[in-house]
């Protein structure tokens, strides 16, 4: 595996930059922009073009949003709206579809831990890693949505109504339990990735053995929500451990990031906020016994990028007008020029962020603005790569390839 580059000349730490892909873009009216091509959102070529654009800008990775229900403007229920994009493709399969068409960029689909089988998810992401040559990750999320639960009909999730609106704590314990289950999900997924040692396949003709069965391991996980025996049916992926990411806005999800993830996406609203969040995650990391282990905390921002601040603001206003309401987001919304955004990113980075995941307000407009506007701007400040330095996602993020936890250390 390629190692992260070590440059003897002192220069600023490179910034990690990712893009979050979601339909026509993150603004609910993005699909109505002239360049949006909203009838192509289910076409494989649409997704291939977006990822190719991101790779053209040498970004670290892209994420693919997903859920087990139609998109909704309500956090817990379907909304049955007809004026926004509804309907989508499975994120893991979309990532797999574009993998052979790209060579360097990381691919991180979203998976709902609450309703899926860790055994299936583990082998799917391992396989994404195989078909992409070591560029896979998975962004894990929990679901408290009542409609998603009704699509599975398998469990009772206590109603998590938010009397004070999004962000208000629900009944005590419910959120914690969902995140604890997600942590178990990640634990099983990771154990299964390790369940085949790297050299388990021996093809020893003399003894007739295809594998050394002592190098395959039962994971024997027992938890409150599931027990999984193992080993995986899929051999260890090229990265050993594909990367695990999670989006977090509060202490409980910060804990998931700190305990289980390689990448955390957070939503600070200024540099001090960023510093506070990063501090909290680092403290949780220490409490989980992972102090000093690599964990990238990336700031999420929605971006409207244009050549002048006025043009960006006007575009945002126009989209809000079309949508009939002002766009709000869990993440800070940036409106301005690539140079202004570069200023902001470098400033916020002082709060301890390792980089950013940008959410293009309009994919067809703001993604090229990132790759062709922001990226050259960052390069001009010597904080962004000029060529891909590695062929794996771990390599791009400066993370070493871990040995299997089951490998005997002779």
């Amino acid at each position: 595996m390629p190692a992260p580059s070590t440059d003897p000349v002192s220069r600023p730490e490179p910034l990690h930059l990712a893009v979050a892909l979601d339909g026509a873009g993150w603004h609910p009216a993005a699909w109505r922009e002239p360049e949006a091509a909203p009838r192509r959102l289910l076409s494989p070529r649409y997704w291939a073009e977006l990822v190719a654009e991101a790779e053209g800008g040498l970004l670290d990775f892209v994420t693919f949003e997903d859920g087990l229900a139609q998109q909704s403007s309500h956090p817990l229920r379907r909304d049955d709206r007809t004026d926004q994009v509804r309907g989508r493709l499975d994120a893991v399969l979309t990532a797999a579809r574009v993998a052979p068409l790209t060579r360097h960029i990381g691919l991180i689909p979203t998976v709902v831990a609450t309703h899926t089988e860790p055994f299936h998810i583990s082998k799917a992401i391992a396989t994404l890693d195989h078909v992409s040559g070591g560029r896979a990750g998975v962004r894990v999320k929990v679901s408290a949505r009542l409609d998603e639960n009704a699509h599975f009909g398998r469990r009772d999730i206590p109603p998590l109504e938010l009397p004070g609106g999004p962000g208000t704590p629900g009944p005590p314990g419910v959120v914690e339990e969902l995140f604890d289950e997600a942590a178990d999900h990640v634990e099983v997924t990771r154990r299964l990735w390790d369940s085949w040692e790297d050299d388990a396949e021996i093809r020893d003709v003399a003894t007739g053995r295809f594998i050394d069965r002592d190098k395959l391991h039962y994971v024997d996980f027992r938890g409150r929500h599931f027990s999984v025996k193992g080993p995986s049916i899929t051999p260890r992926p090229p990265q050993g451990q594909p990367l695990v990411a999670a989006l977090a806005h509060a202490t409980v999800p910060y804990r998931l990031v700190a305990r289980s993830a390689d990448i955390g996406f957070v939503t600070p609203h200024d540099v001090d906020d960023a510093r506070g969040i990063v501090g909290e995650i680092r403290a949780e990391q220490a409490a989980a016994g992972r102090e000093g282990e690599p964990l990238h905390v990336l700031g999420d921002l929605v971006v409207f990028l244009d050549e002048t601040p006025a043009r960006a603001a006007a575009r945002r206003d126009r989209l809000d007008d079309v949508a009939g309401e002002e766009y709000t987001s869990d993440a800070e919304i940036f409106t301005g020029t690539p140079a202004q955004l570069a200023d902001l990113l470098l400033h916020w980075r002082e709060g301890g962020l390792g980089g950013f995941r940008l959410r293009p307000a309009v994919a067809a407009h703001d993604l090229p603005a990132i790759t062709r506007g922001l990226v050259p701007e960052l390069r001009g400040r010597d904080v962004f790569r000029r060529a891909y330095e590695a062929g794996t996602l771990r390599g791009l993020l400066g993370l070493a390839r871990p040995a299997s936890r089951y490998a005997s250390t002779a």
């Binding site: 289910l42 139609q70 797999a96 391992a126 699509h151 599975f152 009909g153 007739g208 395959l216 929500h225």
Partner: protein, 481 residues
């Protein structure tokens, strides 16, 4: 049924598919030409070879727990495979026309998730997705899943049937014209409620809005892999194709006649259900050379260690002390609960192990066979062995005689095991006028000559219409041709 054809008579067209070599001893891993079972490049090679040869589809089997033998992971065959959906989605990027068929289990999945994966795959392949529906019940496999071994064997067909019916309701929850995406008026959906569904049954009670709009094929093509009476009835009611076991010409004709006869009961025409047995092959410049190569392949497939393990399926006891090149064990099989092999189909094949052992001892003595010789001779011989001319003629005869509509070919080598067939047999089939020289359509339905589901007046075959059918075949039938 003349093999040479009659002037002026349109000859029945053969359908061909390539089965990625599976995790069983049909697949030879010890050959110097044997490549990775996992690297994506192996899948790309086989898929592109099959597409170059204008095959209908590529087929992937599945198994959700590694097989065990004597309490250990079975190590003599190929072990390990990638995730079916993920590989098929990736293959869509490097192929244009070939259909992509995945085996997905109805026991250890949920209908909503599988339906969204297949509907997504149909979009991502531009209409080339197919689902081979299988079921299992064993607690052994269940140990890898949330539900564990929740399903009694007697319920697995019922669950599979309801699973497919529910998935069909989800596929059909979008008609295909809901997305307006009208930028002017701001209406993305024509009306509220797209994807609405509600299913209430023994196995599943779910409701809501399906989130993947209708794919190019309406529904993926449905395969079914069982040849029991229940399986035949299920296929007749609900499947587009049967992945069946290969037999003799007469057996094939009987099976074919029986299954096609059942279609009328469901208002279906004979062409709406294809019968595609799996078949292996060995080619040579001459028939004699092919026979010799076939013998060599059999010896590669059955090493001494493999022969002993196979005998243990019947004997149900540890035979590791025996010499595979020596005579059969004089001890009798242990009768009762099977403890040696887990997660394999073979165990079910020998219902009366004492009789089988007796029969095998007699065979071995009469022919002077060692354990290994016996396993080689009693195991599956390759289906088609001969020169390209012989194999092309035999395949054609089989299809023209209505013993099959085509074949799912299982090469014994990864990734190049289909190359020779593509280069030598396919052109001969094309010369005979029984195999396409170019793809005529773009979807798998086009290749298989299956109508788009929306072309039927009663397009929505939901749970109600399927109520008469039993379940699909066993998961353990899919990996071991």
């Amino acid at each position: 049924m003349s093999a040479t054809g009659r002037a002026g008579t349109a000859r029945k067209q053969i359908h061909l598919a390539a089965h990625f070599p599976g995790v069983n001893n049909t697949t030879v891993w010890s050959d110097p030409e044997s490549g990775s079972q996992i690297d994506f490049s192996s899948f790309v090679h086989l898929a592109r070879t099959a597409e170059r040869a204008k095959f209908d589809f590529l087929f992937l089997a599945e198994g959700l727990r590694l097989r065990e033998h004597g309490g250990h992971i079975y190590d003599l065959d190929v072990v390990g495979r990638p995730d079916t959906f993920t590989v098929l989605a990736a293959l869509a990027a490097v192929t244009d026309r070939i259909g992509l068929t995945g085996t997905i289990n109805s026991t250890f999945n949920e209908p909503y998730e599988v339906a969204r994966q297949f509907a997504s795959l149909d979009h991502l392949t531009d209409g080339r997705a197919a689902w081979n529906v299988v079921t299992s019940w064993d607690a052994f496999t269940g140990e890898n899943f949330r539900r564990g071994g929740f399903l009694p064997e007697s319920r697995r067909y019922a669950r599979a049937k309801e699973f497919l019916a529910t998935a069909t309701e989800l596929f059909d929850s979008w008609r295909g014209d809901e997305i307006l995406a009208d930028q002017e008026s701001g209406r993305f959906l024509r009306e509220a409620g797209a994807g609405a569904f509600a299913h209430k049954g023994e196995e599943f009670t779910i409701e809501g809005r399906f989130d993947v709009p209708r794919g190019p094929q309406g529904r993926p093509v449905i395969f079914q892999a069982g040849d029991s009476d229940e399986g035949r009835e299920f296929a007749a009611s609900s499947a587009d194709a049967i992945f069946s076991r290969y037999g003799t010409l007469e057996e094939g004709k009987a099976f074919y006649t029986d299954v096609k006869r059942r279609l009328a009961r469901y208002g279906r025409a004979p062409g709406e259900l294809l019968i595609l047995p799996s078949a292996t092959f060995v080619l040579g410049d001459t028939d004699e050379e092919a026979e010799e190569r076939a013998r060599q392949v059999r010896r590669q497939q059955v090493s001494g260690a493999t022969a002993l393990r196979h005998l243990e399926f019947v004997w149900n006891r540890d035979l590791s002390g025996y010499d595979p090149e020596g005579p059969l064990p004089d001890v009798d099989p242990l009768v009762g609960e099977h403890t040696v092999a887990r997660g394999r189909a073979q165990v079910r094949m020998y219902r009366d192990p004492l009789a089988t052992a007796r029969e095998w001892r007699e065979l071995a003595e009469a022919n002077g066979w060692s354990i290994r010789d016996l396993v080689i001779h009693t195991g599956n011989r390759q289906t088609f062995v001969g020169s390209p001319e012989t194999v092309a003629r035999t395949l054609d005869e089989f299809v023209q005689a209505d013993a099959a509509d085509g074949f799912i070919l299982v090469p014994h080598l990864v990734p190049g095991g289909l190359d020779e067939f593509a280069d030598t047999v396919v052109p001969l089939l094309q010369e005979r006028g029984v195999f396409r020289t170019e793809y005529e359509g773009t979807t798998l339905r086009d290749h298989l000559g299956l109508a788009h589901p929306d072309a039927h007046p009663d397009a929505r075959r939901g749970a109600g219409a399927q109520a008469a059918g039993p379940g699909p075949g066993r998961a353990d039938r899919t990996g071991a041709p």
